[in-house]
C-alpha cells in the first residue's frame, strides 16, 4: 500500500458503513481531510447502507460485523447488482475473511488498526479500478498449475482480455476460456480479479 495512486480530477465519492458510531464518524472525518475524497454519507445498519447507494458513491467502505448483521451479505448484494467498488474495513485479519472478500468481488481489504494512510490509498486505488489488499488471503497451492496455465495467469495479471491472450499464445479465445475454467478450479478462485490478486500477492509469477 506504499505506491501512491494518481489523484483524479474530481473527488472520489465515498460512503462509510460501520455500526460503531465513533469509529464510523472518525473514519469519515479523517477521510474528509483528503482533498480528493468526498464523504457522501455514512450508515450504521444494512438498511441505511442500502439507502446510501442512491448517492452513487464511487467507493463503499464496509465493516464486516455490523452488530447482528453480516457485512459479507451486503457486499454480495452490492456487487451482484453491479454497485460501486467496495473496500472492507475490518477489525479482523483472518485470511478466510480476505478469501471471502475476494470471492464476493470486494476490491480492497484494510485492517482497522492499520495506519490510516492504508485506507486512503486503498480508496484511491480501487476508485481507479485497481485492487488493494493489506491482509493476505489463505495460501493457494499454485504448483498445481501447468506452465501453459502460468503463462495465461501472467497475461491476466497484465490485464489482457481473452482475445489478446489467445493472440499472444497462438490459441483461440475459446481455448483461453477453458484454460481459465481449469485454473479457477485448481486454485479455487472465482474471478479474474481474485486470480490476479492472488497471483501477485503470493508470487506465482515474476512481478510484472
Amino acid at each position: 500500500m506504499t505506491a501512491e495512486a494518481p489523484i483524479p480530477a474530481r473527488p472520489i465519492r465515498v460512503a462509510v458503513v460501520d455500526d460503531h458510531a465513533v469509529v464510523r464518524d472518525g473514519t469519515a472525518a479523517l477521510l474528509e481531510r483528503e482533498a480528493d475524497i468526498e464523504i457522501v454519507g455514512v450508515a450504521g445498519t444494512l438498511e441505511a447502507a442500502t439507502g446510501l447507494l442512491a448517492q452513487h458513491p464511487d467507493v463503499l467502505v464496509v465493516d464486516i460485523r455490523l452488530g447482528e448483521q453480516n457485512g459479507f451479505a451486503f457486499v454480495r448484494e452490492v456487487k451482484e447488482a453491479g454497485g460501486p467498488a467496495v473496500v472492507i474495513l475490518s477489525a479482523f485479519d483472518y485470511p478466510q475473511y480476505v478469501d471471502a472478500a475476494l470471492r464476493l468481488g470486494a476490491s480492497g481489504y484494510v485492517l482497522k488498526t492499520d495506519p490510516f494512510g492504508n485506507l486512503v490509498n486503498a480508496i484511491r486505488q480501487v476508485a481507479a479500478g485497481g485492487v488493494a489488499y493489506s491482509v493476505l488471503p489463505t495460501a493457494t497451492d499454485h504448483r498445481r498449475l501447468s506452465l501453459r496455465e502460468i503463462e495465461v495467469v501472467t497475461l491476466i495479471v497484465e490485464g489482457r482480455s481473452n482475445d489478446e491472450i489467445g493472440a499472444r499464445l497462438g490459441i483461440s479465445a475459446k481455448t483461453v476460456e477453458s484454460h481459465l475454467t481449469r485454473i479457477y478450479e485448481r486454485v479455487h478462485v472465482a474471478s479474474r480479479t481474485e486470480l490476479a490478486t492472488r497471483a501477485v500477492r503470493e508470487g506465482w509469477i515474476e512481478a510484472v
Binding site: 479482523f92 478466510q96 475473511y97 488498526t113 490510516f116
Partner: protein
C-alpha cells in the same frame, strides 16, 4: 393425524377389553371344587378332576358317583340334577372297593381374584396415562401416553377371560432375570438400550404371545369347560393381548430406522428415549405371565411394576441430568458469544480510535503498544467465539483452525473440505468444537499426518479427524465418562446435543479416527 388414529385405536382396544373383562367377570363360574360330573346314560360319573383339588388317586375320570350333597343319584330332583352338572355341590359319595358309599368333602379351590385384577388394570390404565401424559416419563413419550397405558393395562383387564395356570418355570424364565437386573440398574439401562437387547425384547414379546395361546388352549382348553366357544374367545383375546404387547415394540422399531445398523454409534439421546418404550412393551407380557404362572397371584406383576418404576425413574433422572448439562453448555456458549461480541463491538473499536489518535500525534511507541493490545484482544475474541464460524461457516472456520493448530504444534495438519452450503448454526458450532477437541487430542497423543475431513450440505454434515499413531487407549472411549477423559466426553456431548452420531475408532494400522455424522431429522 397419525397420533389421533393411534390414540383412537388404543382407546377402542381398551374399550373392547374392558367390556370383555367385565362380561367375563360377571358371567364366569369358576370351578370351585375342581370336580365336574356328567351322566353316562343313567349313571352319574366323574368327568374331570382338577389336579389342584388334591383328589388324585381317590377319584378319576369315570369314577361312579352315588350321592351328591346327600341326594342319592336315583332320587335327584331335576333342579339338583341340573346343579350337579354345573359343579354346584360341596360333597359327593362314591362306592369304595367294599361296595359301601364313601362321602368326600370337596375343598374349595382358591377363588381367582379376577375382579381385583380388573381393578388393577383400570388403575394402571389411568395411572400410566396420566404419568406418561404429563411428561413425567420424559417429554418424548407424551404423544404415546394413551397407547402405552392401554398396552400396559389390557392384559390385567383381560385376566377374567382366562383361567390360572401353574408354570413357575415361566416366572424364572421371564420375570426373575429382569428383577435381578434391578440390582444393576445402570447397567440395565445401558443394556436395554443396546439394539441387541431390543431385538431380544421383541423376540421375548413374540414368544410370550405364542406361549399364552399354547398355555390356554393346551392346558385349559376344551378339557376345562364344556363350552368350546369359551376357549375360542379366550384364545382370541389372549392373541389380542399379545398383539397389543407388540404395538410399542413395533413403534420402537418403526421410529428407529437405524437402530440395528448404528450399533454403538447410535446417539444415546435417541436410544434413551426408548427405554420406557421397551419396558412398556415387556410389561404386559411379564404381568400376564405372572398371572398365568401364579394362578392369578399378584406378586409377580407387582414386582415387575416395581422394576418398571425404578428403571423409568432412573431413566428420567438421566434425562434430567442431561438437560441440566446441555443447559450449562448452551449457557456457556451464549456467554462466550456475548463476551466476544462485546470485545469486538466495544474494546476493539475503541482500540481503533486510540491507534488513530496515537498515530496522529506521532507517538509511535504507544501506537505499537495499542496495536499489540488490539492483536491480543482479537485473539481472545476468536478463542471465545471465532467470528469466521458465524460470518462464513464451519468450513472456513476449520481452515483457520487447521492452520493455527499446524503452526502452534509444528505438526502436519491437512484439511479436505466440501461445503458448498451451510448446515444450521448449532450444527456448525458443534462441528467446530468437536474438531477443536479432536485436534487437541491428536497433536497431544497422535502422530502426524493429521487429516481433517469436512463434508457438509444444508441438511447434513460429516466430520472426521484422523491421526496416525499412539492413539486412544483401547477402552478410552468407553471410559470417557468415568476417568476424566473430558475431551472425549465433551465431543460425545456436543454430538448428542445436535442429535448426531459420533464414534471413536482405532483402525488396525494404528492411529485414531474420530467421526461425527449429522443429518436432518
Amino acid at each position: 393425524m397419525r397420533e389421533r388414529i393411534r390414540n383412537g385405536a388404543a382407546i377402542t382396544i381398551a374399550g373392547i377389553c374392558l367390556v370383555l373383562g367385565i362380561y367375563s367377570w360377571l358371567t364366569q363360574q369358576p370351578p370351585f371344587t375342581g370336580v365336574l360330573l356328567r351322566f353316562d346314560g343313567p349313571t352319574l360319573v366323574v368327568d374331570k378332576v382338577d389336579p389342584g383339588a388334591g383328589l388324585t388317586g381317590t377319584i378319576q375320570s369315570g369314577t361312579v358317583v352315588t350321592e351328591v350333597d346327600g341326594f342319592l343319584v336315583k332320587d335327584m330332583t331335576p333342579d339338583v340334577r341340573e346343579r350337579s352338572l354345573h359343579g354346584d355341590f360341596s360333597e359327593i359319595g362314591i362306592l369304595d372297593p367294599n361296595g359301601a358309599t364313601k362321602t368326600l368333602d370337596l375343598p374349595d379351590l382358591p377363588i381367582p381374584p379376577i375382579g381385583f385384577a380388573l381393578l388393577v388394570g383400570v388403575a394402571l390404565l389411568v395411572g400410566i396415562g396420566l404419568w406418561v401424559g404429563r411428561g413425567l416419563a420424559g417429554d418424548g413419550l407424551r404423544p404415546l401416553a394413551i397407547s402405552l397405558a392401554v398396552a400396559s393395562a389390557t392384559p390385567l383387564i383381560l385376566v377374567p377371560t382366562w383361567a390360572p395356570a401353574n408354570a413357575p418355570l415361566l416366572i424364572a424364565a421371564f420375570a426373575l432375570p429382569m428383577a435381578a437386573r434391578l440390582v444393576f440398574a445402570d447397567g440395565f439401562i445401558a443394556a436395554i438400550t443396546r439394539p441387541a437387547w431390543q431385538l431380544i425384547a421383541a423376540a421375548l414379546a413374540s414368544m410370550a404371545t405364542v406361549a399364552h395361546v399354547v398355555i390356554v388352549v393346551a392346558i385349559y382348553g376344551l378339557a376345562r369347560w364344556e363350552i368350546p366357544s369359551a376357549d375360542l374367545v379366550s384364545a382370541i383375546v389372549i392373541v389380542l393381548a399379545g398383539s397389543i404387547t407388540l404395538v410399542p415394540l413395533a413403534v420402537l422399531l418403526y421410529t428407529t430406522p437405524h437402530a440395528f445398523a448404528n450399533r454403538a454409534g447410535m446417539a444415546r439421546r435417541q436410544s434413551d428415549d426408548r427405554v420406557p418404550l421397551v419396558l412398556a412393551a415387556l410389561t404386559p407380557t411379564i404381568v400376564s405371565m405372572g398371572y398365568v404362572a401364579l394362578g392369578l397371584g399378584v406378586s409377580v406383576p407387582l414386582l415387575w411394576l416395581l422394576v418398571v418404576v425404578v428403571v423409568l425413574q432412573s431413566n428420567s433422572r438421566v434425562d434430567t441430568l442431561r438437560i441440566q448439562r446441555d443447559t450449562v453448555v448452551a449457557a456457556t456458549e451464549i456467554e462466550r458469544a456475548r463476551l466476544a461480541a462485546d470485545l469486538h463491538d466495544d474494546a476493539l473499536q475503541e482500540m481503533t480510535v486510540l491507534v488513530r489518535r496515537l498515530d496522529e500525534v506521532g507517538d509511535a511507541d504507544a501506537a505499537a503498544l495499542a496495536r499489540s493490545i488490539a492483536d491480543r484482544l482479537r485473539e481472545v475474541c476468536g478463542d471465545l467465539r471465532l467470528p469466521i464460524l458465524d460470518e462464513l461457516g464451519a468450513g472456513p472456520a476449520l481452515e483457520w483452525l487447521v492452520a493455527r493448530v499446524g503452526e502452534t504444534s509444528g505438526r502436519e495438519v491437512m484439511l479436505e473440505r466440501v461445503d458448498a452450503a451451510r448446515p444450521p448454526a448449532d450444527v456448525e458450532l458443534a462441528v467446530f468444537r468437536v474438531a477443536q477437541e479432536a485436534l487437541a487430542n491428536a497433536v497431544t497423543h497422535g502422530a502426524p499426518p493429521i487429516t481433517v475431513r469436512y463434508d457438509a450440505a444444508a441438511t447434513r454434515a460429516s466430520l472426521s479427524i484422523t491421526d496416525h499413531g499412539g492413539g486412544l487407549s483401547a477402552d478410552a472411549a468407553a471410559a470417557a465418562g468415568r476417568s476424566g477423559h473430558y475431551g472425549l466426553l465433551n465431543m460425545r456431548q456436543r454430538a448428542e446435543q445436535i442429535g448426531a452420531r459420533i464414534d471413536f475408532r482405532r483402525p488396525a494400522d494404528g492411529g485414531t479416527v474420530i467421526g461425527l455424522d449429522w443429518a436432518v431429522g
